[in-house]
Amino acid sequence: MPEALLAVRGLEAFYGDFQALFGVSIEVARGEAVAVIGANGAGKSTLLKSVAGLLRARTDAITFAGEPIGGLPAYAVAARGIALVPEGRGLFPSLTVEENLLIGGQLGRPGAWTLRRIYELFSALGERRKLPSTALSGGQQQMAALGRALMANPKLLLCDEISLGLAPIVVREIYARLPAVRAEGTAIVLVEQDVVQALAAASRVYCLQEGRVALSGAAKDLTREAIAAAYFGV
């Protein structure tokens, strides 16, 4: 079995005294798309934030490309090739669309993703490149946030609820772009409340429930009933 790109083992996470994750373990192989689903408050975002370095983790709890990265600050994690598309998009309001994309490429890592390719993938962004990022619609902002993460040419892309607050047709548009990302060999972790889209896009699924992994398996193997049970903790 090839060594996993990302290996999370027994991850615990706290917000002050409140424990959000109780020993979560997941694995993502190179180029793989993995979905993490679960109800609100299950700990999905917390998991991504811990991997990205926004939340402190134990050093050995998270391994990336064979190197322990738990406990590293977020900018160091980003430097190692992990890009997070944060919850709520997190575009910089003082920057234009193009500047948001450019700052995504701040690290200057070479790769397939350039400004031109991002505009090819998301034509709506190209048309609005000089506008302030606040002038975009919700769907366009999500595309910009995704594009910004891609500009870092990451080995692993973490997507935190990219469907949140968007109309279904817009969500489909965005998910339709993901194969182009996979084609470059980038691994993706999709944290989603939209279970249907997540299952369609990913090969494997983890379902979190109250800070623990309740279910995991290949997307095509899991039945609706099993997922519903794990999701709601029935």
Binding site: Y75, A83, P93, S94, L102, I103, Q106
Partner: protein
């Protein structure tokens, strides 16, 4: 004609005030920190310039080549080792730490240089004048200072809006956590911003040194002028800061012309009027 002269002098001095203000405005924009020691750092730069010029026997403009990098490095170190620890939601720590810093710098300078006034000599350029029109003369040095002030503001605009580091400044100011996701170390970004601020302070300090007799106690007044220029001009806009500086300079010049004792008071009153009538400043940049 007499009044035109007064206003002209006010505009020229206003450029210097805008330089005092620019460094202050930059730091507040990037990290929401108001550096109470800002004025004292300007005076420190003036003394550094004095020492450099006298030891090496060079003129003030040449001294800039040394003073600017020295102050920039002091800024980086100051931010990295001290001020970065004060940043956060509570505004007391940065205020009190920079207040303490102000006291330390003033008294440190007093200990080393005593309270005697000194001045940096610039040579014949100090008294040279240009005749603009009948009865209207303007000093070459003030004109040069004004030009440099405008250039500095233009330079800062360029850095902020056309360079990668400027993007980094603006992004980190918007959202320090997401900026980290881009690979930006906040501590380093803030330290660079302070280094830039003190580079501007260095230029302002050299010009101050050439323009007036200075001593260690001049700091607080420079801070206040810089601050007034920022508020009059409007927060968030560098060109607004320039305008604020000019207005302050003119207000002071008008006040001084009516009665020399009213110079500084006139400036304060102009500030209070703007605060009362248009508290957001004259050219604020609307920011979310």
């Amino acid at each position: 004609m007499e009044w035109i002269n007064v206003i002209l002098q006010g505009i020229l001095v206003g450029g210097l005030y805008a330089m005092f203000a620019a460094g202050l405005s930059l730091i507040f924009g990037v990290m929401r920190l108001v550096n109470i020691a800002h004025g004292d750092l300007i005076v420190l730069a003036a003394y550094v310039a004095l020492v450099v010029a006298q030891t090496l026997g060079i003129g003030p403009l040449t001294a800039l080549i040394i003073v600017v990098p020295v102050m920039a490095m002091i800024g980086y170190a100051l931010q990295w080792f001290v001020l970065n620890r004060t940043l956060g939601d509570d505004l007391l720590p940065p205020l009190l730490v920079t207040f303490g810093l102000s006291v330390i710098i003033q008294n440190g300078l007093l200990t080393v240089f005593t309270a005697d006034s000194v001045k940096l000599q610039a040579g014949p350029i100090e008294v040279a004048t240009i005749r603009l029109a009948e009865g209207l003369y303007v000093g070459v040095l003030p004109l040069l200072q004004f030009a440099v002030a405008v250039a500095v503001i233009a330079g800062l605009q360029l850095i902020f809006y056309r360079t990668a580091i400027g993007r980094a400044f603006r992004a980190t100011a918007d959202d320090p956590a997401v900026a980290q996701l881009m690979g930006l170390d906040n501590r380093h970004v803030f330290a660079l911003a302070m280094a830039l601020s003190l580079a501007v302070v260095a230029i302002a300090g050299v010009f101050l040194a050439v323009r007036v007799n200075f001593d260690p106690s001049l700091g607080p007044a420079r801070l206040i002028f810089g601050f007034e220029a920022v508020i009059i001009g409007g927060l968030g806009s560098l060109w607004g800061t320039l305008a604020g500086g000019l207005i302050l300079g003119v207000a002071q010049a008008v006040g001084a012309h009516l009665d020399p004792g009213w110079q500084i008071l006139a400036g304060h009153i102009a500030f209070l009027i703007v605060l009362a009538a248009r508290p957001q400043g004259l050219f604020p940049k609307v920011r979310t």
